[in-house]
Amino acid sequence: MAVIRDLNKDKMDVVEGSYAVAHSVKVCKPNVISAYPITPQTHIVEDLSQFMADGEIPNCEYIMVESEFSALSALVGSAAVGARCYSATTSQGLELMHEILFNVSGMRLPIVMTIANRAVSAPINIWNDQQDSISQRDTGWIQLYAEDLQEASDMTAQAYKIAEDKDVMLPAMVCMDGFILSHVYEPLVLLEQDLVDEYLPPYNPELTLDSKNPMTFGAFADPESYTEFRYLQQKAMNNALAKIEEAASDFQKVFGRYYGGLVDEYETEDAEIILMAMGSVIGTIKDTIDALRAKGVKVGLLKVRSFRPFPVEAIHNVIKNAKVVVAIDKNISLGLNEGALFTETKASLYNTSIDVPVIGRMIGHGGRDIPVSTIEKIVDEAANVMKSGISVESQYADLKEELL
């Protein structure tokens, strides 16, 4: 269970989410930052630019590139010479990086990047959903989703710890909902430099481009060896499962805050209905649960922090005793009419002894508001499934029929 609020109250500042993330990046001591501005990521890179202008990030180069494509490409070079690297993007910018995302992961470069989650075109829409990062699920990046500003801030340091672990060496995305988290002001504790220094060791890669010990990076692999590279990437993802848990518990030891490792739970112990979700909607769901619990509804929440690697075992442990599970998604796989969390949770139950009905509900696309009433409606539907079985497996929970 999350342990956040009561500690360090005297240290809290009220800042914007983007500022908190930029501050976290700064105290993680990056050597190269490269990013292209795009709403709603912009404030992060603006704040980092100001830190650079004020001389607050020593031993760091900020490359003002001409596109997101080059932002990540430049970091390939920087990470390969041994630099700790950072970028931030969203939506179309992330999609433009698509080809390089595979490259970074395949070359095992532990770059950390914040995604200020946003819908993708067309129609153009700058508001929040999670289609952008979910669409990159198979690129070999670790994907972590933050619930609130404090978690987005703290997750940034955790991401470096996980990505740079010798048993992992994979890039990581810290996903925070655009606007809802990036542009909101909340009280939080900004990461303290001395504690970060204690928590996060300097990046010290085993292999770099170094003329004293020349190596070839990015050789081409024929059918005789390509499969084995993929296998090793997957193995690193498997290793990351334990490292994500470790990074969270180590963080708690140093900073006193904990949000769960791979997943977190809220009111799940006796829950008949369990809602699963990722990102800022968690807060709304928790409030809804509080209200429903007061009325005697046995409903709980499974917060998924890590979408890649997908924490099958951790999810099963939470949902195995429920009577119905609802996976809530801010994305859709077109042609399947399902959100990714739903599809993958369902798939993970195949060939297990866990027999629990799972339904999927898609909400909040393109920034559509998610009021408590929407969550209540979803819980009502789940209660009906308990009574009479699944009638609709997956659908939009907030579709406006009158616009169709």
């Binding site: 190269v32 490269s34 180069e61 390939v76 010479v81 070839t216 692999a221």
Partner: protein, 292 residues
Amino acid sequence: MSFLFEAGHRGCAGCCDAMVAKFVLMAAGEDCIVISPTGCLEVMTTPYPESSWGVPWIHSLFENAGSVASGVEAGLKALGKFEKTKVIAMGGDGATLDIGMRGISGAFERGHDMTYVCIDNEAYMNTGVQRSGATPFDASTTTSPAGSESFGNPRPKKDMPAIMAAHGSPYIATCSLGYPKDLIKKVKKALEVEGPTYIHAHAPCTTGWGFDTSKTVEIAKLAVQTGLWPLYEMEDGEITSVKKIGKQKKPVEDYLKMQRRFKHLFTKEGGDEELKKIQALADENIVKFGLE
């Protein structure tokens, strides 16, 4: 004798890329990092687990050598390792003039201290001899083939050195693998000059152009001697030296007739007129760059 670019790679006999790469590393020495985009050079030199590179080398993608090189330079600077290590991006004409243009443009506009070497064999050779922005007028490629209604590529080469000069590069040079000493001298100079410098190396491809594998150097020289590939240096946007052709001047037919990609000009009706157009391009160069 041992070279930083080792023998035993998988290039064709008479391969132009291998020659240019070898000359560039002879100029650069050990303390450099080479970035190569996708292309023949990458594929023929790094079949895992083998490598021809005696210096640190990285391949990323087809279109991002300029950007990756920017990152290598910035990373070395941030880590305090930049002082002596030279950053060299080296790729083909497709990766340079076409798909990689944006990344190179960004790198030069930002002023990264690096040298970009274009190995120009005038088509997408790695993919099977398709037209690129560097393919010359009337060359027959698999995507600009000569046919009953076509004399091949309908457009002249993109003037990449001029584009790079417009970026404010302090040093730009054209060179040719037919003149290795000149090439090595220019690469050395490019590496010494601070800021983003550009080398455009003309590199005849035996497979793509269709000539005997023993003729790579001879054909490279003919491109220069006809005026079709002028050799010059530009410093801060001004031409500061030119390799004169003088008495060696040859008609363009001498160069074109040795290559399969121009064969149609000598067999097809109307070819004479096309040859005149190509001769006019050479004559224009001779006047423009003062080659005589």
